[in-house]
Amino acid sequence: MPKYLLILRDDPADFAKMSPAEMQACIEKYIAWSKALGAKGHMVGGEKLDLPGTVLSRKKGDVIRQDGPFGETKEIVGGYYLIRADSLQHAAELCSDHPQLENGTVEIRPIDTFGAPDAD
């Protein structure tokens, strides 16, 4: 089954404003979602990304290092999951009830298999 990377973007300030009770309700939803996906055999893994980070680029031969923010908006990549799904459509269906959608976005990108039907 092909693998898909889920890139979770959100504004960390939104979470910082939540009350402990709201946080617990939120975390319970995330756990339930991960568990349900794992039970169906679709979960490969995932990590939370920490701050600070830095962006490297080269300008006229010099390596430029820029510490965040990382884009135009306040939303940053907060973490990722790697899942298995039959197709992009299927992956989108699996994520349609992701609790992240209440707090930000989920970008779904297929892992490139260079044309192999099911590289693992």
């Binding site: 709201e22 946080m23 973490g79």
Partner: protein, 416 residues
Amino acid sequence: MNESGDNALVEDLFRRSSAQAVSALVRRFGSARLADAEDAVQEAMVRALHHWPRRGVPDDPVAWIATVSRRAMLDRLRRELSGDRLAMALAERVAPAHAEAEEDALVMLFALAHPALAPEEQVALTLRVLGGFSAREVAAGLLLDESAAAQRLVRGRRKLAECAEPLGAWREAWVESRLEAVLTCVHLIFNEGWSASSGESWVREELVREGLRLARLVARHRTTRTGASLALLACLEWTVVRLPSRLDPLGEPLGLAEQDRSLWDQAARARGNACFAASLTLGSPTAWHARAALAGVHARAPSYGETDWDELVVHYDALVAMAPSPTAHLGRVVALAKVHGAERGLRELEALREDPKLAELGTFEAARGWMLWGLGLRDEARVAYRAALARERNGAAQRYLGRRLEALEAGRDPID
């Protein structure tokens, strides 16, 4: 780590563990660092939010939050301070003799009873820090708008920062200087949740539970276990006896005469009995004993008709003598009316008019309306109930009065 993530989160885990972590940090770094401690704990919870769904819930989530909060706090101090000042801040933290969560909470509770804080700031901060409520939930609990609640929290934190009280070891001297302020604060929190009895908001029910939890915390510790703290706990236990029956199935508040007493919490009554008996062995009676005794009379009465109004008058007399307040005066007059009749009640009520603050209360007019109704003076009673309704801001309380006004207008007998 539990890789399967099978550990369920117990109810209130985040509220409890955040309160515990803030208390532990403030105890070690002093009350001037309260805002930093709150931020550090918030950061730890955000980390949990991202980590736990992926890595599984740790076997000891409370310890996880405490540890990550402590690291976040140290990071903050390192970023803000440097050199000698950092070394001093880190060295200053007093390692408690025994890192006991209950004592951390108790030190926090008494640190917030600092005399520089106004009672309303103390109540708001106690809910925020010890109850683990957000500013928004504090506002909902105290029926304030959000900015007013936030203001109280900010002012309270600033005053604590200005006083920069080092904490660390539990101080027995605080029992003398601050216990009364702590008990008053706990009672206010409980009453805020109880009095509106609206049942429409999660937070308000939580205030009742929070008040009870804090009262137990104080009454349990060896140095704060006094006659007064046990009497407060007895008062709250005897009051929550009525918790299961005080709302009808639609969530509307019911009066004492209307409640189904078979639902009453007899375990709470037994706990109240034990606390009150213990309180009487420790020193002379206080206003807290009078308040407890009042709740006890109701908790003991098998039916409304069997309520011992004579005994209530005795306890109200004691309360009015030791700690006069509008509600104490009003309660006393209602009890007098039950014993000696509505005419006597009305006379006493008119005497209370001298206190303009009291006469402005919706409950004053409601009591007047009920007595006038008892004397068959329906027109005057109606005017009084209408005045009471106009002064009442809580929706459920308005409906409670509205039902009485309807019964009055329908020509029925008085509802207590």
